[in-house]
Amino acid sequence: MITGSNASKTPGSDYISRRFMRVWQRNLIVYGQNWKIGFLTPMLEPVFYLLAFGVGLTVMVGNISYRGIEISYPYFLAPALIAINIMNNAFFENTYSSFVRMYYQKTFDAMMATPLTLEEIITGEIIWGATKSVIATAIMLVVISLFGLIHYPHGLLILPLAFVGGIAFGSIGMFFTGIVPRIDQFNLPIFLFITPMFLFSGTFFPMQNLPLWAQHLAVFLPLSHLVKLTRDLSLGLLNMEMLWGLGYFVIFCLIFFPLAINKMRRRLIK
C-alpha cells in the first residue's frame, strides 16, 4: 500500500479564524522593538528622491500633461514614490522577512504547534506586510505634504489604498517565499518583476512615452495601476477609471492570496 505524501489529508483544515491577528500582533511587537529605524526609510526616501529628481530634473523636464492638466514634475513624481513604497514594504516584508521567520527563526514551526493554523499564520503575515505599507505610506504622506504636493482630503484615501495594494504585493511576495529554495533566490523575482515595474509603470515618466506594445504590457503590472490610483488621489482627480484599478487589485488578491497559502502549505506541511 503505497500512498504519496500529497495524497494525505491536511490536519487542521484550511480554516481561518480571527486568531490570525495574534500573528499580526507578534510582528507588530517585534517591529516596535526598533521602530525608529523602521520609520527612517519612509521619512528620508521621499526627501532624497524629491531633491534629486524633483529639483534636478524639473528644470529639464518642465511640465507634464496628466489627464488634460499641466503639472510640474514633483507633482507627477511624488505619488509614484508612495506607490513604489507600498509595493516595496509589503513585498520585502513577505519575502525576506517572512523567509527569515519561516526558515531561520522557525517562528512558523513554533506557531504551528499552537492552535494557530497554517492559513492563519500566512494570513497574519500578509496582513502585517500590508500594515507596514500603510505605516510607511502615512509617514511619506506627512513628509510629502510638507512639500505641498498632496491634495486633501482625497489624499487620505491613499491610506486604505496602501492596505489593498499591500495585500496584493504581500500575497505575491509570500507566493515566492513558498517556492524559492534559498533566500538569495529572491533576486530573481526582484530583478524580473519588481525592478521593471519600478522603472516602467508610469513612475518616473508618463506611460504614454513608452511604445504602444509596452503600454499594453504595463496594463498587467500591478504597480502601474497602483501608481495611477495614487496619483489620481494625490492630485484630487477622482474618476470612474479608478474602479478598474481597484477591480484589478481585487482579482489580483483573489488569485495570489490563495496561491500563497497553497504554496506555503506545500512547503511547510510535510
Binding site: S5, T10, P11, G12, R19, R26, T107, P115
Partner: protein, 304 residues
C-alpha cells in the same frame, strides 16, 4: 481501564518513496512518561510531528485525548505543549515577551498570560533574566525557556523532541529535575531522546525504533532483564584463550575487536572464573543498562 491520552495504531508516514514511520502502534496513558528512542533517522521526530499535527499521517489511525487527529486538530493542539528540537524562540524579544506572545496564540487573556509567564519563569529559574533578549541566553537557559513556553497553556500532554540534546551536564540535569517535578505533578509526557540515561531516568515505558519500525516496547527494567540479563562483563584487549573459553561454555557475548562484552548468565562464579584465569586487568563487571539493550538491538554501526 483508563482511556489513553495517545492512541497510535499502525501509524505510517511516507515522504514520496521514503517510508519514515512504518506500522508504529503505541499508547500513552494519563500521568505516564513515555519515551521514543532510536538512532538518528529512526523516525522519532517524524512520529511525534504527526502527534502535534505538524505532519499529516499517511496511513493508520491516531487519536489524541480520544479524538481523531485529523478532525479535531485545533482543540487537541490547545491541550498540548510542544518543545521542538530546533530553537524557535523569538531572538529580538525578551524572555518574558516570548512567553506572553506565545500565550496569545492560545487566546490566553493578557493579564492571565503575564502571570502564567512569571510563574513559569520562577519555576524554570529564569525570573532574574526576564528582561533579557532571548538571543543573549545560554544554551541551557534557552532550552528551559522553550520548556516554559511549552507549558504556557497548562497542557495535558507535553511533547518533547530531544529536550537535552546539545546541553552541558549541569543544564541537562537541571532540565531533568524540572521534568521530574512535572511528572510528579501528574503531567503526561512524551519524549524522544537518544540519551539512554535520560530515558532510564524519566520514562515509565518506552519504545525503541529503528528505520521507521518499532523494535521493542516496554518498561526500562523489564527490557534490560529481557534482552541483557543481570549484568555485563567487559574485557579490554582480550586474550585469544578467552574467546575459546566463551565459545566452549556457550556464553552470549559480543566481539567488538579490542573489547568483549559478555552477558552474565545465572552462574555467579563466571566473573571470578574469567577475571582470575583470563584477564588480571581490564576486566569489569557492571550492571546492565538501557544503553546495552539499545546497542544490542540497533547495532553498533555509525548512523550518518
Amino acid at each position: 481501564m483508563m482511556e489513553p491520552i495517545i492512541e497510535a495504531l499502525h501509524l505510517r508516514k511516507a515522504f514520496g518513496n521514503l517510508v519514515a514511520v512504518d506500522d508504529v502502534s503505541f499508547e500513552v496513558f494519563p500521568g505516564e512518561c513515555f519515551g521514543i528512542l532510536g538512532p538518528n533517522g529512526a523516525g522519532k521526530t517524524s512520529t511525534i510531528r504527526m502527534l502535534y499535527g505538524f505532519s499529516p499521517i499517511t496511513d493508520g489511525s491516531l487519536k489524541i485525548f480520544g479524538l481523531h487527529i485529523s478532525q479535531n486538530m485545533r482543540t487537541s493542539k490547545a491541550r498540548i505543549g510542544v518543545c521542538q528540537q530546533d530553537n524557535s524562540l523569538d531572538p529580538d524579544l525578551t524572555v518574558l515577551q516570548n512567553l506572553e506572545i506565545f500565550g496569545s496564540y492560545f487566546n490566553i487573556p493578557r493579564k492571565a498570560g503575564h502571570e502564567r509567564a512569571l510563574s513559569l519563569l520562577r519555576f524554570m529559574a529564569l525570573d532574574h533574566r526576564k528582561d533579557t533578549k532571548a538571543i543573549e541566553l545560554s544554551g541551557g537557559m534557552m532550552r528551559r525557556l522553550v520548556l516554559a513556553r511549552a507549558l504556557i497553556n497548562h497542557p495535558d500532554l507535553l511533547i518533547l523532541d530531544e529536550p537535552t540534546t546539545g546541553l552541558d551536564p549541569q543544564s541537562r540535569h537541571q532540565v531533568w529535575e524540572k521534568l521530574e517535578e512535572l511528572r510528579a505533578e501528574g503531567l503526561t509526557i512524551l519524549l524522544t531522546t537518544h540519551y539512554m540515561e535520560e530515558a532510564s531516568r524519566l520514562c515509565d515505558r518506552l519504545l525503541i525504533m529503528d528505520q521507521g519500525r518499532i523494535l521493542v516496547q516496554g518498561k526500562p527494567p523489564d527490557l534490560i532483564r529481557q534482552y541483557i540479563g543481570r549484568g555485563i562483563i567487559e574485557v579490554r584487549a582480550p586474550v585469544p584463550a578467552l574467546r575459546m573459553y566463551l565459545k566452549s561454555q556457550d556464553l552470549h557475548y559480543e566481539d567488538v575487536g579490542h573489547r568483549l562484552i559478555i552477558y552474565l548468565n545465572d552462574d555467579d562464579n563466571l566473573y571470578h572464573e574469567i577475571s582470575n584465569k583470563y584477564c588480571k586487568e581490564g576486566c569489569v563487571m557492571r550492571m546492565a543498562t538501557l544503553e546495552d539493550v539499545f546497542l544490542k538491538l540497533t547495532g553498533r554501526e555509525l548512523r550518518e
